[in-house]
Symmetry: C2
């Protein structure tokens, strides 16, 4: 029985890094004897929108529900389609419709990548951001009044539910409990955002009573971003709302050298719906078409997908292959320009696939 | 005629850095022959709350309205009073009641302070964050439903008005137009926060037509925080909503070495109400009482206050005095521990006051 993967390359560099992600997945399938089948879709991209007037076909939910996982590239091309339309019509919709309420984003300084932070070595930065992925600040409730006049006002609701908060906290606490340092940091802003954020703090306190072995701390998002730069070694598992998790999971990888390598898993832990795996970076119209995008975020997301499907060894082997190639450095390995190398997307993808096969 | 300053030290290290701020202001008043009169208030602090059951006396608005400026330390002590109560009962209230709709926060890498970013020199980081300071995500609209049950839900509105957005954009564009690089960066998150943030983008586009000489760009907040770390030299004037401005004005100073030196001005540009000057850092209960807090944020805020009151030379002289002391380095000058020195709050305040007087 083969594991069915829906492949959506999306826009911009999504279409360039996806083939490398697939290349490495195929190498993993061969080495570990895993049956994977891929089906490609052109929807959930701005070009599809330009042709069809919508981001998705009407039966997208039925189509994608049949897959074991979704492997996504990147979406968005603001010159073609406004971002809020393209994103709400694709990944944001998938996350919600498939109840992928966990967005898991590892953040690790890898040997071979130079951190923009002074004096930081591999080992100094090694944490997970666990991001709530279905509610919070990313809401569809609100609107505009007195349109076009001086009195114009726009309102948007942040909506948080006990269910939504508790389940992401539980996931984060469980993860922290399994890690050697057993530390959980909660990101809020309860001094300024005085209704939703104090509620999140309350739920953290309540959940913490079930995990006496986990050390819990809390920072307001402003000083937390400062501490990511000043003390990235403080963090182990960071749990945050949809927006704060979004911010921290770009900032964290930036502190490790490049967001080009950062992966993410949008998980429905109960397995009722397919989970979705995509790099943290976007479609990057500015470098699209040049063949220089870093494929590692896509490849590493593939590793997370294999782990999620139960192939932990294969996932680990991919990450090792990535690390081995990076360790060779920009003189030896065909690293992309963001890694100070002279390689390109394909060459780096091939090098990682070969390292994996050589295993 | 003397300029009347309301002095509110607040909580924690606020009470320790305030005397140093005043020391330097007095030295400036003497050297530049400025008549300043100070009146001290104990309200807007958590201790006041514990005694009176409220953060402010009933007539606080009339009391403070009579002053030319408010010089604030820091407020908040979560073990005594929940943060959202202490903050909404003090600075957040002042900002709104006195319509201090601009929060201006310079961010500059100063000679003598080591940036946590590798290979960054003074000159590489030199920008302003212009933060909307009265509306947006810091709203008092919302509430809780199904309290105490599994169905519990909390909702909080983000409220943005054309008036509120346009006036902060205008200020930011004017500032950018006066700077050599004439560059304005707008922080939004219009791909995820699909109602308020696209509206902000629209207003930026509209306002930009009045400033053809200013180069405008826009980043989503997630990648913008990443770029603060990877490319801090890209930025000149960054304009942002209340929440995003809050985050960026902690992250920016962290990139310059310490948030202990960062100042802020809460400005009512029309001068209908007093403006308020306070360091970016908070009350820092963890180091309060030790006498090691960095007083520079408070002192630099005093410099911004003098500039606001029309004494540009005096303000500049204070900043120069700060720079001269920092330049001596931790071996020569009594720098505080966050600056890798062996000095304390008082010693550093005195050194800066002396440098200023020596002029
Ligand atoms: C203390 C807090 C409410 C305040 C804010 O968020 O505005 C502070 O962080 C600031 O930046 O002035
Ligand atoms: C593209 C955008 C809507 C998305 C998000 O904000 O969730 C992206 O930044 C991410 O982090 O996956």
């Amino acid at each position: 029985m083969s594991h069915k993967i829906a492949v959506i390359a999306g826009d911009g560099i999504g279409t360039e890094v996806m083939p490398e992600g697939l290349r490495v997945l195929e190498a993993a399938a061969e080495r570990f004897n895993i049956a994977l089948s891929f089906e490609h879709f052109d929807f959930a991209s701005c070009d599809y929108y330009l042709e069809h007037g919508q981001m998705l076909p009407d039966d997208w939910f039925d189509i994608l529900s049949k897959f074991d996982a979704i492997y996504y590239g990147a979406v968005g091309w603001p010159d073609k389609v406004p971002d809020h339309i393209s994103l709400w019509g694709s990944i944001l919709q998938f996350r919600r419709a498939f109840d992928q309420y966990i967005n898991l984003r590892p953040c690790r300084l890898i040997p071979g990548i130079k951190s923009p932070l002074a004096d930081r070595e591999p080992g100094d930065i090694d944490f997970y951001v666990v991001r709530e992925n279905t509610e919070g600040e990313y809401s569809s409730v609100g609107g505009r009044m007195f349109e076009g006049t001086e009195r114009e006002v726009v309102i948007q609701d942040t909506v948080m539910t006990r269910t939504g908060i508790d389940r992401v906290l539980k996931y984060a606490f469980e993860l922290a409990a399994k890690r050697p340092r057993r530390k959980l940091t909660s990101a809020t802003k309860s001094n300024g955002i005085s209704i939703t954020m104090p509620y999140w703090d309350e739920r953290v306190k309540a959940m913490a009573t079930n995990y006496p072995d986990v050390t819990v701390d809390q920072y307001h998002i402003d000083i937390l971003t400062a501490n990511f730069v000043m003390h990235p070694d403080w963090f182990d598992v960071v749990v945050a709302s949809n927006l704060f998790g979004d911010i921290l999971s770009d900032l964290g990888p930036a502190c490790t050298g490049t967001i080009g390598v950062a992966p993410s898993a949008n998980i429905n832990p109960e397995g009722r719906f397919p989970s979705m795996f995509e790099p943290v970076h976007g479609s990057a119209p500015d470098i699209a078409g040049k063949g220089i995008a870093n494929p590692i975020g896509q490849i590493w997301s593939g590793a997370m997908m294999l782990e999620h499907l139960g192939f932990e060894d294969a996932g680990k082997a991919i990450v090792e292959a990535i690390e081995n190639v990076l360790k060779e450095g920009p003189e030896q390995a065909p690293l992309t320009p963001d890694l100070k190398g002279k390689g390109d997307t394909q060459a780096l993808g091939k090098a990682i696939a070969e390292a994996l096969s050589a295993g």
